[in-house]
Structure formats: structure tokens, C-alpha cells
């Protein structure tokens, strides 16, 4: 990175944060601090919801996923539009009508205190631990590729977001996310334009797509019924529906983004904005990865994109063997490139038979090229058994650093930071609010004014931010724990959704039945997770169904609810 790139990165990130602090200084009103500006329109709400989900990993990993596996991951989002419609119809009106600050506050009013604390506790556990991972994950990649100190990268990201999130709460988060999303959009458009410009002369988008498609990168929709297939239209629509319902409907980091605003109408339209644009957005990011793949068919890529790990292993292992596999890969890639050129010529000549033969040759040499990459990974593990052989997270950033002009590099690195800051801010805001409202205020019996709770929320937000930084700083020593924490989300979400569906639609079920049902359902999901090999999306459905089903059964066993409970609010 050049001086210009650093100026772009630091200028945009610090500038947005400083602007956020300045605009939201002096907020003491709990409604504004917890829910944001009451004049907030659907555009701000919609962007805030989108920015909260789009973390740094979205822009590091998903292009890499498009490069390696193609467009299939887009199916994960097929359940999202219907989920957001359901939330707009059933969840949001309840939240606004009751004037709650957190989604778990609703559970307390509907059932009882212990159910509220269970929901809030599961959120704090899962999101609190994940908060460290979402700082660590992009920092480790940027540190490895750019040579930055990992601890300073983590501290810079974490402290910056703490400052404006603590100062301005939900309003600061929404305000800064507008500008962060603008940076993200500008960066992704720039990457697309530069990529298309850098494709070989005469290779247009159609030819590039044809090449990507022939090598299996453009299969976006899989109609298979095999439950072991990771991404299919069915797992996306059904499992993804329940995942999206839980994430957008019950996870405080999302709920807090849309329960404020000028009116119910603005919240609904903000959700519908995401329902319409989320799938095209994810498709675009995956397509970017597929086009990077096409680009690298004409420019030799590294045999292993995480060059820091590769070089370190080469120095500690058999350097000659590493050089040999690099040379073998270069030779194989060169042959493949010739076959691709021949295939392109055959396509233009319009001879189907010759084209089919040339295409088969391309596929064969692509298979050989992938086999050499497999040899490289085996060599890596032989030199360092602890080395990570998955390098897809480094593909896009490698392309950016090596092929984009200066200035644009800074912009794309700013995209990664903007995404990290925007999602992290929502997380910390939600963690601080939930701690303050669902635990501290709920359990604090001494009467105090609202400003006291705002101050408490600021302290809790800072506490969670420092916890996340601390966890990220020590996470490098606990790689398996990081993977476990990422799994937690897929295990917990279904049961939490079950709690809310019972609350909203099954009025006869009381707090005791649903509380016990949730605990049993959660245990069941954990057991099934370690017993089955199905796509993780299905656990959302399983957990939700188990919680709802067991609630019905337990309420039947316990008998009908008491008349006092029938009144609704506990």
C-alpha cells in the first residue's frame, strides 16, 4: 500500500467515526440512545439493517467463496425476503406497540422474567463471544497480507468503534453506517470496473461468464433434495427462512436497527428494502469472486493465496519441494491457459464439435491444476501440521493488492474496515443495551432516572467492546474455539426463534412450559449437531420446531394457563 492508500483508509474510517461522535454528542435520552433518532426514515433503517449483516468477512470470504465454489452460496439468502415480510407483519408492530428497547423485553412481558433472561442470556453468550471473532477474523487476514501488526490492527478497529458507539449509541451507529455503506458500494463498483478492464482484450463479460460457467462457477441454484448438500434451493428457502426469521426478528443487533425510526411505516419499508436488495447484493459479491477466478485463468495466481503461511512453511520445511510444486503449478497453469485460448477461438469459429473437444481439454487441465493445488496443501501440512489449508479468504485481497491502482487499493481496504466497523458497532450497541435493559434495569430495584440507564448502557457497551478486543488479542491461541463460536450461532438461533414464535402465535402457552421446552430443545440440537452431517441451516428449523412442539406438549401436561396469565402482560 502507498501513502495515498493509507490516507484513504485512515481518512475515511477516522473521518466517519469523528463525524459520528460530533453529531451525536450529548445524547442522554434513552429513547434516542437505544433506538436512534425518532425522525429516522426507511432509507437509514434499510441501510443500517444491511450494514449490520455485511461484516468484513462478507467482503473477504464471499468473493473467495465465489472463486472456489461458485455462486451456490446465494441460496442461503432465499429465505430472507419471506422472513422479512413475516417480521414486518408480525414482529415489528408488536415491538413498536409495546415500546420495548430490546426484543427480549417482549418475552418478559409475554411470559415471565426467567424466559426473558433466557432469551437475553443466549444472545449475550452467542453474540458476546462472536464479537471477538468478528474483530479477529478480518484483522488476521489483513495482518498476514499487509504485514501489519495483528495486535495494533485489532486495537485500531476495536477502539475506533467503541468511541463512537459509546458516545452516540444507536443514533451514532445508524449515522455512521450510511457513510460506511457508501464506501462499501463505491469500493465494490470500483473492483468490478477494474476487473472487467483488466480482463484480456477481446474477452467480454459474456465470454468471461461462459468460461466461469464451464468450470462450474456459475451454478447459482441447486434443485437437489440431498440433505447433505451444503447449499440447495430447499435448504436456503426453508432453513434460510428460519435462520433469517431468528436473526432479523429476534437478534437484538438487528432488532435495534429497525424498532426506532419515525413510524411503523418507515421500519417496514426499511425491512422491505433489504428484502428486495439483499439477494442481488450477495449475488454481485459472489459474481465478483467468479470473475476474479476468470481473471486468474489469464494471470498466474499463487499456488496458495495465503503467501505468509506458504513462505513460512517453505522456510521451515523442504524449500526445494515447495519450489518444485510452484513450478509444476506454473507449468500446469500455462498449459491450461493455452487450452482456454484454443477454446475461445473455437467458440468464435462456431464449430460445435471443435468447441466441445477444446472445452473438454480445458476441463481436464483445470482438474490437473486443482490437483497440483491439492499437492501444495499436502506439502504445507507436512511442513506445518497446524497450518490452515483453506486460503479462499485471501483470494480477493491478494487480487486487490496486486492488480488495483493505488488509491483504489486504499478504497478496497477501507471497504473491509467499513464493513467491520458497521457490523461491530451494531453488535456492541446491542450487547450494551441488552445488558443494561434486560439484566441491569430488570434486576436493579432502586428507582433511578432514565439518564442513569443511559450511563449504564455506555459503560456496558465499552465493557463489551474491551472484552471483544481482549478476546481477539488472545484468539490467535485458540483457533478451535473460534470455530466453535461460529458454530454457536447456527445452534442457538432456532431455539430462540421458537421462543418468539410461541410468544407471538401460541397465546395459551405460558412461561414455564416454553422455558423448559427451550432448554430441552437446545440440548437436543447440540446432540444432533454432533451426531448428524446435514447442512447447518437445517438446525434452525429443527431447534425452532423442537421448542414449539415441546412447548405445546408441556403446556398440555401442565394444564391450561391461569386466568391471570391469560391477560397477557406478566
Amino acid at each position: 500500500m502507498s501513502l495515498l492508500d493509507y490516507l484513504v483508509v485512515i481518512g475515511t474510517m477516522v473521518g466517519i467515526a469523528v463525524f459520528g461522535v460530533w453529531r451525536t454528542r450529548g445524547i442522554h435520552n434513552p429513547s434516542t440512545y437505544f433506538k436512534g433518532d425518532r425522525t429516522m426514515g426507511w432509507g437509514t433503517i434499510g441501510i443500517s439493517v444491511m450494514a449490520t449483516q455485511a461484516s468484513a468477512i462478507t467482503f473477504l470470504s464471499i468473493p473467495g467463496q465465489g472463486y472456489e465454489s461458485g455462486l451456490g452460496f446465494v441460496q442461503n439468502y432465499f429465505g430472507l425476503p419471506l422472513a422479512l415480510i413475516i417480521i414486518a407483519v408480525a414482529f415489528l408492530p408488536i415491538y413498536r406497540r409495546l415500546g420495548v428497547y430490546t426484543s427480549y423485553e417482549y418475552l418478559g412481558r409475554r411470559f415471565d422474567g426467567k424466559t426473558r433472561l433466557l432469551g437475553a442470556g443466549l444472545f449475550l453468550l452467542q453474540r458476546g463471544l462472536a464479537a471477538g471473532v468478528t474483530i479477529y477474523a478480518p484483522a488476521i487476514i489483513l495482518s498476514a497480507v499487509l504485514g501489519w501488526r495483528l495486535d495494533l490492527t485489532i486495537l485500531f478497529t476495536g477502539l475506533l468503534v467503541i468511541v463512537y458507539t459509546v458516545t452516540g449509541g444507536s443514533e451514532a451507529v445508524s449515522l455512521t453506517q450510511r457513510y460506511q455503506m457508501a464506501v462499501i458500494f463505491a469500493g465494490m463498483v470500483t473492483a468490478f470496473v477494474v476487473l472487467l478492464i483488466k480482463l484480456p482484450a477481446g474477452l467480454g463479460f459474456t465470454d468471461a461468464a461462459a468460461l466461469a460457467g464451464s468450470l462450474g462457477k456459475l451454478e447459482a441454484v441447486d434443485f437437489s433434495f440431498d440433505p447433505d448438500r451444503r447449499y440447495t434451493i430447499w435448504s436456503g428457502m426453508l432453513g434460510g427462512l428460519f435462520l433469517s426469521l431468528s436473526y432479523f426478528g429476534t437478534d437484538q443487533s438487528q432488532v435495534q436497527r429497525y424498532i426506532g425510526g419515525a413510524s411503523l411505516r418507515e421500519g417496514r419499508l426499511g425491512l422491505m428494502f433489504n428484502a428486495v436488495f439483499k439477494i442481488p447484493m450477495q449475488f454481485s459479491i459472489l459474481l465478483l469472486g467468479a470473475l476474479v477466478f476468470v481473471f486468474y485463468q489469464f494471470e498466474k495466481p499463487p499456488v496458495f493465496f495465503n503467501q505468509a503461511t506458504w513462505q513460512a512453511a517453505a522456510q521451515s520445511g523442504d524449500a526445494a519441494a515447495f519450489r518444485a510444486v510452484e513450478e509444476k503449478f506454473a507449468a500446469t497453469h500455462g498449459e491450461k491457459q493455452e487450452k482456454i485460448d484454443a477454446w475461445m477461438q473455437a467458440k468464435r469459429a462456431g464449430d460445435p464439435a471443435v468447441e466441445a473437444t477444446a472445452r473438454a481439454s480445458v476441463l481436464e487441465w483445470h482438474r490437473r491444476s486443482e490437483a497440483v493445488r491439492g499437492e501444495a496443501r499436502a506439502l504445507l501440512v507436512a511442513a506445518d501440521p497446524d497450518a490452515k489449508t483453506k486460503d479462499s479468504d485471501y483470494i480477493f485481497i491478494t487480487f486487490v493488492l496486486n492488480y488495483l491502482p493505488h488509491g483504489a487499493i486504499g478504497l478496497l481496504v477501507a471497504v473491509i474496515f467499513a464493513a467491520a466497523l458497521s457490523s461491530k458497532a451494531s453488535e456492541l450497541n446491542a450487547l450494551g443495551t441488552t445488558t443494561a435493559v434486560d439484566f441491569y434495569r430488570h434486576l436493579h430495584k432502586t428507582p433511578v432516572d432514565d439518564a442513569h440507564y443511559v450511563r449504564a448502557a455506555k459503560w456496558f457497551t465499552a465493557m463489551w467492546g474491551l472484552f471483544a478486543i481482549g478476546f481477539a488479542l488472545f484468539a490467535r491461541f485458540m483457533e478451535n474455539l473460534i470455530e466453535a463460536i461460529n458454530i454457536l450461532g447456527s445452534i442457538f438461533y432456532g431455539v430462540v426463534l421458537g421462543l418468539f414464535l410461541v410468544a407471538l402465535f401460541l397465546k395459551r402457552i405460558g412461561g414455564t412450559a416454553v422455558f423448559i421446552a427451550a432448554l430441552v430443545a437446545q440440548a437436543l440440537v447440540v446432540v444432533l449437531y454432533f451426531s448428524l452431517t446435514i447442512s447447518y441451516l437445517w438446525y434452525n428449523l429443527i431447534g425452532c420446531a423442537a421448542c414449539v412442539g415441546l412447548s405445546l406438549l408441556l403446556q398440555w401436561v401442565l394444564g391450561s394457563r391461569s386466568p391471570a396469565r391469560e391477560a397477557g402482560l406478566s
Binding site: 432465499f78 425476503p81 419471506l82 413498536r96 460457467g213 451454478e219 413510524s263
Partner: protein
């Protein structure tokens, strides 16, 4: 004092919204929320069809 049911319309004047006003979309061509949701769902169906055709064309 009897408590209002949880899902009853909220007549709290502090909310600042007259009863029933939440049903106004304010969007030209979409007078009801049902139409908005149908439009959104229609966009989703179009997206899936596009992706399926895109896959079939280039695969």
C-alpha cells in the same frame, strides 16, 4: 384493573400515531401493505428465476 390483550390496537397517544394510520404505505401504486409484500415476493421469485436461467445459460 383489566389489562389490555397483548395484540390489541394501541391507542396510546404518546405513540403519536392515530389508530389505523400504520396501514398507510404512502407509496404511489401501493395503497396497501399486502400489495407491497406481494411486490417484494414477486421480486424474490424473479430473482430466483433469473439465477436459475443464468446458471442454465452459462453452466
Amino acid at each position: 384493573m383489566k389489562r389490555a390483550p397483548l395484540d390489541a390496537p394501541n391507542d396510546n397517544p404518546a405513540d403519536g400515531v392515530p389508530p389505523g394510520d400504520d396501514e398507510v404505505t404512502g407509496l404511489p401504486g401501493f395503497r396497501t401493505w399486502r400489495r407491497v409484500y406481494l411486490f417484494v415476493f414477486g421480486c424474490f421469485v424473479l430473482a430466483v428465476v433469473f439465477l436459475a436461467l443464468f446458471s442454465r445459460h452459462f453452466a
